[in-house]
Amino acid sequence: MGAFTVTAADGIARVVLDLPGEPVNKITRAVREELAAVLDRLRRDDGVRAVVLLSGKADTFIAGADIDEFVALRSQAEAQDLVRAGQALIGQLGALGKPVVAAIRGACLGGGLETALACAYRIAADHPKTTVGLPEIQLGIIPAAGGCQRLPRLIGLGAALDIILAGKALPASRAYRAGIVDELVHPAVLERAATEAARRLAGGWRPRRRGRGLVGLLLDHTAPGRAFALRLARRQVMRQTRGHYPAPLAALRAVAHGLAHGIEPGLDMEAALFAELAVGEVSRNLVRLFFATTELKKDPGVEGDVPAPRAVKSLGVVGAGFMGAAIAGVAVSQARVDVRLRDTDDGRVGKGLAAARGMLNERLRRRRITRYEHRQLDALVSGGTGWDGFARAEVVIEAVFEDLELKRDIFQQIAAAVRDDCLLASNTSTIPIAQIGAAVRHPERVLGMHFFSPVDRMPLLEVIVSEQTAPWATVTAVAFGRHMGKTVIVVRDRPGFWVNRILAPYLNEAGRLLQEGVKVETLDATMVRFGFPVGPITLLDEVGLDVAVKSSHVLHDAFGERLAPMAGLQRLVETGRLGRKNGRGFYRYEHGQRRGVDPAVYGLCGAALTSDVPPEDVEGRMVFALLNEAARALDDGVVRSARDGDVGAVFGIGYPPFRGGPLRYVDEMGPAAAVEWLARLAERYGPRFTPAPVLERMAQAGTSFHQSPER
């Protein structure tokens, strides 16, 4: 059965794409071949004067090219062939000699938008599912079916670069304002509007598009103007990517080349650059992470008999401090549940509610929500000093001070206020869930939901399950976390869970290096160069030194010398250095602005004046401390798979995405090479670097953490 249905009436051909057996439309080899044949017939059919291109799927127009074909590419030559085939088809569409109108409802992304861009006219259905964009950059590649050529010509250089470089999908209304679509109509009249536009176009009507003003003309149509705009964009790309990501720079080149030399040379450039990127390591790793997160979104969080997650309408949050308020705010703005925030005094409740509401106000200010949505969401936030409303809650998240006795006490109070089947979650980062759960009836409904700060920006959530935790509780927490917009990994109830477990040796090692005389700036710069968004010392300041001390002791107690904390940290806390939150950490802060390293920290840490650690070991020690611990923890079963481990590292601590994650990194270098590195470090710097047994085993067996090099 074919993917296309073609009918014609009154000289207007109606071409409907409905890929059989797939939830979304995508451009596969079969679709390309069939569309080529369809276009050929339409070209030769004198009865057809214009064409309307529609989707038979409710929620997608065309979601993009088939990613499986892309992943299967083995060489640049194969990549060239693939992209040339796509360019040829879209060229054929543009050169049909009869106007084609794209009637867009649902996702119109990547190759889908490039198809629409080759049409004479685009009409979008004003519907929440309609999104328009070129997400290729996110996968480390560039739009190569003419996207880098046609979009700048349609909407101007600056606007096109914004869309191509960000790789984000725009809602229909913004696509209309940007000029990507010509008309925005109610979904019910989409087809009629498209048919009428096709008829007008067939009659010689030319749509008038908005001018871009004098400045736009100068920027787009003069060589110096273009050079200026491209230079600005390039500078911004370098600032954001620090040169780790080749795709945005390649996109700039493809756009520039096309504008300077014309569409055909531009397409040649797109193809050449695409082929290079497509088989490159950065794109490979970004694609793997894309698959990992896509799979995670469908992963219920438990194996075997999977119970259905329970619906959550009402959430209780206990503790209206910084974390509690932020969890409440995100739960309301993302999951849109009724949230009751509870704390012991009205001042704290008031501040917490104000902070949670502040998140909604911010979303309103950024026009992420309308005034009407804001009013409704705002009404979902309430709180008090009593346990009112907790009996309505399906889930309660506790976010009080990190202290086992306090948490056990609070959990008993919560258990007395809620229904027996209410899921009870602790937002702890250090306390064993089983010990908290033992305090209440039905400990099988107790688990950890470890959010990261700032909750509204950090994408990861660790759901911590103890031996007692019931599968229904796990799947409910995972599903609810996802509703809160988080990437969720299920983690076993072991000290430090996953993220803090692998982070601790890395930060400890940074501390050791500091003591051995390496400067704070060097440590931070080294890891930023490696690809972390911030270096380890900056991270300590952000997390809070007191928090780090607490967590490092827990891990030291659990795992011994290997995870011995840096000696100076405790002293820094004792001298009132808590990090950015109180304006004093390793760095000094004034009015929230960082003002350089506080020189006193070297003395407090007992740091050597100069360092004789070679630069490659500065990086190596920090990186391998993390990799080695990640290998051990995975072997311990702390995470369920290497996939979860890598996603957790990337989204939880900012491990460089272009390196695919720590476990993928080990796979790529080979476990034998990792063992060799570690053995050398162990010999030179101490037994904490002794290779994890699992690495030794893998090195001998020639296996890897991930099952597949593609996913």
Binding site: D338, D346, V349, G350, S382, G384, R392
Partner: protein, 430 residues
């Protein structure tokens, strides 16, 4: 116990209200709709109610916003509820929330609803300010004008004095008499002296203060957490520091020479909202709620506004008692709305007067012998404040809660309202 209705017996299950705050103070940034929504969300949490259970809503509001004239519907569109709960806003002036509760009662009694939320709200900080009639006419004509010139010609006819905005006055549209003037008239006609009024006002403040301190009054208040993080916990009109001397020092507000009604012995302009959860007795039992009280009967009456405007209760109370099949002597507690001290005292005078009963009710016995220990035991609107649309919810809640505390079998609510109307309701415990 027999019931005053023919159908389902109606239970008052729960309720709460915002603090009542003098207009222009703590709650000034809230619209009445926002206050009503706030009180209702709090009611849901306090009663652990699932929004799906609610069948209908009625709310009272007196000075409605032209932008959201059906306040009750804005409340029933709260995200905690399904979007399919019909809701109406009612206006019987100061008895609006009482009327909302009575309407909810009727719907339940008749079997049209099992669970109703009723209450009321008012923001006198957020009243509509209108253009003058002439200016409004000019604007409408200008919007219909076909050309710029025609539009300008219409607007050119506007005089400077037409631009003066019109604020709604708290006056009787039928007579032009303000509430204050009415209260003044009643004081004179019924011989209610200045000192008696001031004493009553002082009593209101003292009792409200006691109720606030021992937590009985604050128990019905849901704190309002402001956008800046501050919490508004209490009614802010209650004066701890007032005394007879201070009250006596105030100038009469409506008649400089012979007047006795002052800002001290009248209720202040107030913002606030209240919400009460009503259920049929069967529904309460099925959903596991223990009712605080039941509605036994109610009555509404009206007198000629040109006469003594605020004498409505003197007629409504005997009627409600008659419908309840009881007498004043059976009442354990009474909550009387205090618009003005002179109005309360005038009505009490009528209740206790054999002559008044004979002349106006054709009865040989007076309506009541008032036991002051059972009347407004936590003060009233003079101290607590009086958001027109919301007060009825407060009276109902306070009475029900106090009946529970005192284990009083019967209690009475009495409210006077603009337009010469009176409202009375009898609650029972068992």
């Amino acid at each position: 116990m027999s019931t005053g209705t023919n159908g389902h017996r109606v239970a008052i299950v729960a309720g709460c209200r915002t603090p009542f705050c003098k207009s222009g103070t703590d709650l000034k940034d809230f619209t009445a709709v926002a206050l009503a929504r706030y009180a209702t969300v709090e009611l849901l949490h306090r009663s652990n109610l699932d929004g799906e259970q609610v069948d209908q809503m009625y709310f009272g509001q007196v000075v409605a916003s032209p932008l959201a004239p059906n306040l009750a519907r804005e409340v029933s569109l709260l995200p905690q509820f399904p979007r399919t709960i019909p809701a109406a806003t009612v206006n019987r002036a100061c008895a609006s929330a009482n009327t909302a509760i009575a309407e909810g009662h009727d719907q339940i009694a008749q079997g049209h609803a099992r669970v109703v939320i009723a209450g009321g709200a008012e923001s006198l900080s957020d009243i509509p300010i209108l253009h003058s009639r002439r200016f409004a006419d000019a604007l409408i004509a200008a919007s219909k004008a076909r050309s710029l010139v025609a539009r300008l010609r219409v607007l050119a006819g506007v005089r400077a004095r037409d631009l003066i905005p019109v604020t709604p006055a708290i006056a009787e549209p039928s007579t032009g008499e303000t509430m204050g003037q009415s209260a003044e008239k009643m004081a004179k006609v019924n011989g209610i002296g200045r000192e008696a009024q001031d004493r009553f006002a002082l009593r209101s403040h003292r009792l409200a203060q006691a109720g606030t301190e021992d937590g009985r009054l604050t128990a019905e208040i849901a704190p309002v957490y402001l956008p800046n993080g501050d919490a508004v916990m209490r009614d802010n009109g209650i004066r701890v520091d007032t005394s007879l001397e201070r009250l006596a020092a105030l100038k009469p507000a409506f008649d400089r020479h012979y007047g006795s009604v002052t800002a001290g012995n009248a209720s202040p302009l107030t913002d606030g909202a209240s919400a009460v959860l009503l259920m049929s007795e069967e529904a309460a039992q099925a959903l596991g709620y223990a009712p605080i009280a039941f509605v036994r009967s109610y009555a509404v009456t009206a007198v000629d506004p040109a006469d003594q405007l605020l004498m409505g209760p003197a007629y409504a109370v005997p009627l409600a008692l008659e419908r309840a099949g009881i007498t004043w002597a059976d009442l354990g507690l009474v909550e009387m709305h205090e618009a003005f001290a002179s109005q309360v005292l005038s009505n009490v005078q009528a209740f206790e007067s054999p002559q008044w009963a004979a002349e106006h009710l054709g009865r040989s016995e007076p309506v009541a012998r008032v036991d002051w220990d059972t009347l407004n035991v936590m003060g009233g609107s003079i101290a607590i404040g009086h958001p027109f649309g919301a007060t009825g919810g407060r009276l109902t809640l306070t009475l029900a809660n106090e009946m529970q505390r005192h284990d009083a079998q019967f209690g009475l609510i009495s409210v006077c309202a603009q337009g010469g109307m009176g409202f009375a309701m009898v609650l029972e415990r068992r």
